[in-house]
Symmetry: C2
Subunit: 119 residues, 2 copies
DNA sequence: CGGAATCCGATTAGATACTG
DNA sequence: CAGTATCTAATCGGATTCCG
């Protein structure tokens, strides 16, 4: 069964896993996307919702998501000024993927913790 | 519509996204899991399959996966010695999650690249 | 063969201070 | 309010060397 021939190389530059992770893998990206799920949200509100994020990291995360076409940024010239962030359709297409990750964690993360303790 | 009440805080320590990413988020983990998909594989074979990985990073990645209960390590006292790595059931439970990530990348990554070029 | 240990340069991220 | 700029501590990862 399963006669393994020579598989092609597994490469960070070509593999789909790595491409998805290139976008999702940092500490704050998934949390920021989650904060924008279903609503437009102001910078300050997002910052206060995401526990522990610095304004530097929030700005950096949002800039990258905007550059990648996942997030839309709208500036309002009010006094004081406000900025609203929301997901583009491309950004929304990531939500099911994140949902699956969350489902896995909810179902299996306790097993990981038990494995760690068993050392 | 969608009258947003005060949502609970979004925290890296508590959020399911972050728990899953804590395991998957580094550069090599997903590729290593992919290499073990469906088969037991020797250290050296894995190293040669995964383009660009150093032995330090491969060992580090595998040690962490083993500690987390996702990977099984078997040492054979042959001459020369050999070590086989394979996924545990817990590790296999991650495969559908990774598959989803790959599917997203295959379907949407080109849009990300186009967004980047449009700057 | 399959590692562990050390060294060291590069990247990262928090804190702080300043601005339109 | 929503950033930008700078500095610095810590972490990361590649290369190298040595071991069972």
């Amino acid at each position: 069964m399963t006669p393994e021939g020579k598989k092609p190389d597994i490469s960070p530059a070509l593999c789909g896993y790595s491409k998805a992770l290139e976008i999702l893998s940092d500490k704050w990206t998934a949390l920021a996307i989650h904060a924008m799920d279903g609503e437009s949200i102001r910078y300050g509100v997002m910052k206060s919702r995401i526990s522990g994020i610095s304004q530097k990291m929030l700005t950096q995360t949002l800039r990258r998501l905007e550059r990648d076409g996942l997030v839309r940024r709208e500036v309002f010239a009010t006094v004081p000024p406000s900025t609203e962030y929301s997901l583009t359709p491309l950004g929304e297409s990531l939500l099911p993927v994140l949902k699956r990750m969350k489902e896995w964690a909810d179902a299996h993360y306790s097993s990981v913790e038990r494995a760690r303790e068993a050392l």
